[in-house]
Structures are given as structure tokens and as C-alpha cells.
């Protein structure tokens, strides 16, 4: 049912091929699960919120952040792809980026959330 903890194959080259000096790295991530959602937390230091691209298609979540070149570094592409279970409500995925940490929230579809059934006497 849940395959979020397994990476799908990542494309090896940079997505647009424009920055040939660019380095592509897989960011370190934490993945957490609660009753109602999955959380993917990724370290993307140096990336601004406008430079993040998150896609969800064919059951795969791909996160991509572009870090511009600095005096000492080549531009960096943080990229990682996750296989996501069908139990995720794709249209309700949200993400935010704060102090270099990207948090993607993947709410579960109603059907898989645990429900408390009231017992009547």
C-alpha cells in the first residue's frame, strides 16, 4: 500500500540541460506518516521558494529545487523522486519552503483515514 519510502529512479541529467556546470544531488529527506497525511521534509539550503518545482504524476512525487551559483559553488539541482501510494489525495498536496527546508504535505484520501465508529447501545 505504501511505497513512499522507496525512491523511484531519478533522471540522471539536469532537467533542462541549460546549466552545464550544474551539480545534481539528492537532498536528504525525512518522511513521516500520521493518520491523515504523509510528510516529506527535504533539506534544500540556498534555494528560494520561487525556485522549487514539485510534480505529482503517475503515482510519483518529484521535488526539484534550483540553487543558484555562488562565488564558490556551481549551481546545484536538488532532485528526488518518490513513489507514492494511491492513498494520497493528489489534488490536495501542498508544500512550503522555509530556511532551506522544504516540507511537502500529502494528505491521504478520505477512504483510507481511520474512522471512529460510534457504537450505540
Amino acid at each position: 500500500m505504501l511505497n513512499l519510502a522507496t525512491d523511484a529512479a531519478s533522471p540522471a541529467s539536469s532537467p533542462n540541460g541549460t546549466e552545464d556546470r550544474a551539480v545534481t544531488v539528492g537532498p536528504r529527506v525525512d518522511v513521516l506518516e500520521t493518520e491523515s497525511e504523509f510528510l516529506v521534509v527535504a533539506d534544500m539550503p540556498g534555494v528560494k521558494p520561487g525556485d522549487v518545482d514539485i510534480r505529482f504524476e503517475k503515482g510519483e512525487l518529484s521535488v526539484h529545487g534550483r540553487r543558484p551559483a555562488t562565488r564558490e559553488y556551481a549551481p546545484t539541482n536538488y532532485q528526488r523522486v518518490f513513489k507514492v501510494a494511491d492513498s494520497v489525495a493528489a489534488d490536495k498536496i501542498t508544500a512550503d519552503l522555509k530556511v532551506g527546508v522544504l516540507t511537502v504535505r500529502l494528505p491521504k484520501v478520505e477512504a483510507v483515514k481511520p474512522k471512529r465508529i460510534a457504537v450505540t447501545g
Binding site: 513512499l4 525525512d30 518522511v31 534544500m44 539550503p45
Partner: protein
Amino acid sequence: MSQIRRHPLGSLWNDFNQVQDEFAKWLGRASTVPTAAQLTVWEDEHAVYAEADLPGVDPAKLEVTVTEGNQLTVVGERTPPEVPGSVWLRQERPFGKFTRVVGLPALVDADKVEAKYVDGVLKLTLPKHEAAKPRKIVVKGE
């Protein structure tokens, strides 16, 4: 507190770190694993610059000190995500206290050090001490 379900190696890794921490303490040094910041240091004729990727750190808990004019210390702490009622499926991001001490290539003016924390990157500008700046010597003709 969130419940933790780790990779089997995870607990071993923690034990290992703990042992290393103890060992570091015993040697009278702060731990430098595995949360330690990678510092990049470079210089020009006016200043020494240092940068460290420290995503997700509370800037209020970041401490930057310069001692003896050329020893830079960065102390901070990274906390794990606190999500009530959650279980871990994967845990790769390091957390805990870290200390990094580096010797700088020149004497700097500790009063004029500038520290910025932007998008999870700590950027330091450490202006060189007058004595460390290159000086042009005028050659007098006879």
C-alpha cells in the same frame, strides 16, 4: 512526542554516535558528528568569508564567535520535525547540537564580523585586521 520507527541500522547509527559523543566529551571536545556544518572559507585582500549550509536551524540558536582574532566557532542546534502522532518512515536529516571550529587564514577584526542567515545558509564576512591587510610599500628613488 512522536513515535519513532527506525531503520534497523538507525539505532546502531545512534549508538555509534553516542559512543563517539562520549568519546569526544572525554577528550574535552564537542561532538562534530554527524550534524556538523560543512564550512567553506575563502578570502580576498579585505576580508575572510565563510559559508555553511545549515537548513532548518533556528537563527536565535546559532552562535558565531571569533577568538584570538583567527579562530572561528559556529555552534548551533538542529531539531527533528515534531509532528504529533507521527511515525518515521525515513530519517536522513541529521539533528542535534553541533560545533565547528576552524582556524582562519588571517587575523580578522572580531568587532566588525557580519553574519547573515538566508535560505538556510549562514554567510559570514570577517573583515581582516589592519595588520593582516596587504600594504603597498612606496619605493623611493634616490
